[in-house]
């Protein structure tokens, strides 16, 4: 056996980790709690103009060893929070911090009753619903087409109704996701999953596990982003 054998065998062995390896930075340091940055009206405007994607890659928490490259401004977390407006328009900002962990989910509502669902006969996709991000207009000015349900990483996520999985995959924003088409033709998208336990074209029963709670894609902590489409239009899954 030689080094080449290992390099070769690594091809198949590592296939499952290809997407993870292409994430820009390790998850716990990738995302700044950007909602803090856009908490003022001016910041919201700048955010819209500069587009979320570029901002997300520009602002990040760095390790204490981060080397400063050209055009990069290094500030402390305190400085960043104190001068939100000007920093939003700065091109390269790195926030140095020893440790960064995602802030606890902002709990808007906590329920576990199926009747809170808009669709009769559906079951909740998670055992305990903790709405961390609501459908529609959010406090930061962004119009959301989905709800974010926070929960512990690895928690079981189930099919809300009988149906067929039409798509599974990975997306830089959505992370691991799947789309379930219910028998009534309603499309339900589950995103940011830790893993997907069903395959495309698979029939699933209501309550059957389809994946587990994760923080893949562009997120600040473990949550399920649930988007429900009726005739192609996103609707609030809750009453």
């Amino acid at each position: 056996m030689n080094g080449y054998d290992i390099l070769n065998a690594l091809g198949s062995a590592g296939e499952a980790f290809v997407e993870e390896a292409q994430e820009l930075r390790p998850t716990k340091k990738t995302v700044i709690h950007w909602s803090r940055l856009v908490s003022t009206a001016a910041a919201c405007l700048a955010f819209a103009v500069l587009a979320g994607a570029s901002l997300m890659t520009v602002y990040y928490f760095a390790s204490p060893n981060q080397k400063k490259s050209e055009g990069m401004t290094v500030v402390s977390e305190a400085e960043l929070l104190a001068s939100e407006e000007s920093l939003v328009q700065t091109e390269h900002v790195v926030v140095k911090t020893e440790e960064y962990s995602a802030p606890a989910a902002r709990v808007l509502q906590e329920e576990s009753d199926h009747t809170m669902l808009r669709f009769e006969g559906w079951v909740l996709p998670v055992e305990q619903v903790v709405i961390a991000g609501a459908f529609g207009q959010r406090a930061n000015g962004i119009q959301s087409d989905h709800v974010n349900l926070a929960g512990p990483e690895g928690d079981r996520i189930v099919a809300v109704a009988d149906g067929k999985v039409t798509e599974t995959g990975y997306d830089a924003t959505l992370g691991y996701y799947l789309i379930l088409e219910t028998e009534d033709g309603v499309l339900v998208k589950y995103a940011h999953l830790k893993d997907v336990t069903v395959e495309a074209d698979q029939e699933v029963q209501q309550g059957e596990m389809v994946g587990s709670m994760g923080k893949t894609g562009r997120v600040t902590g473990p949550n399920l982003a649930l988007t429900v489409y009726v005739d192609g239009v996103p609707v609030n899954p809750f009453r």
Partner: protein
């Protein structure tokens, strides 16, 4: 076009599958091949050969994640190209990577030929057990063949940290291979 639709095109033997794959993932495959082969023409040839292999393999093999599958085929094709074309004098980058990985092999295993599947399974279990951050660095170095400088820039950490992480993971892999009871 969604990956599932591209896979369907492959299954339907529709040649648009090749065009759509090239359109969506051609550049990534090209970059992967270029890192290993270090020659633009060879890399282009490698991508074409990989697409042909994928065309032949689907629908017999139905990949769950198309991008990872394509990159794996491309990586294997590039490594095989080097193996057959230049067995003794490997390309600089591959030589560097194989020399580093050489350090993971326990002494008593060096003279044996590893069974591909067993070694693959062993490496997969090892990767699964690594903390995410270390796995990302290790994958970027030895799966994607990226340089220490590129990884350092990508993750905003020092080159020294990348080297140290790789060194520690290699050492851990050596211990793991020593402990694992796989057929040699």
């Amino acid at each position: 076009m969604e990956d599932t639709r591209i896979i369907e095109l492959f299954c339907e033997r529709d040649e648009n599958a090749i065009a759509e794959t090239t359109n969506k993932y051609g550049q990534k495959m090209q970059a992967m091949a270029l890192r290993i082969l270090e020659n633009k023409e060879d890399a282009e040839e490698c991508v074409n050969e990989s697409l042909w292999k994928v065309w032949e393999a689907i629908p017999k093999e139905k990949p769950l994640f198309l991008k990872a599958y394509l990159l794996k085929v491309c990586r294997n094709t590039a490594l095989n190209t080097i193996r057959y074309r230049n067995a003794d004098k490997r390309q600089g980058n591959v030589q560097e990577l194989t020399a580093e990985l050489e350090q993971c092999i326990p002494d008593h295993m060096q003279e044996f030929r590893a069974e591909g599947r067993e070694l693959e399974g062993c490496l997969k279990r090892f990767l699964e057990g690594l903390p995410k951050e270390k796995r990302q660095i290790f994958m970027n170095r030895y799966w994607f063949g990226e340089s220490v400088a590129d990884i350092s820039q990508k993750y905003g950490i020092s080159e020294e940290k990348v080297k140290t992480t790789c060194f520690r993971v290699r050492k851990k892999l050596k211990q793991y291979l020593e402990k694992e009871d796989f057929t040699i």
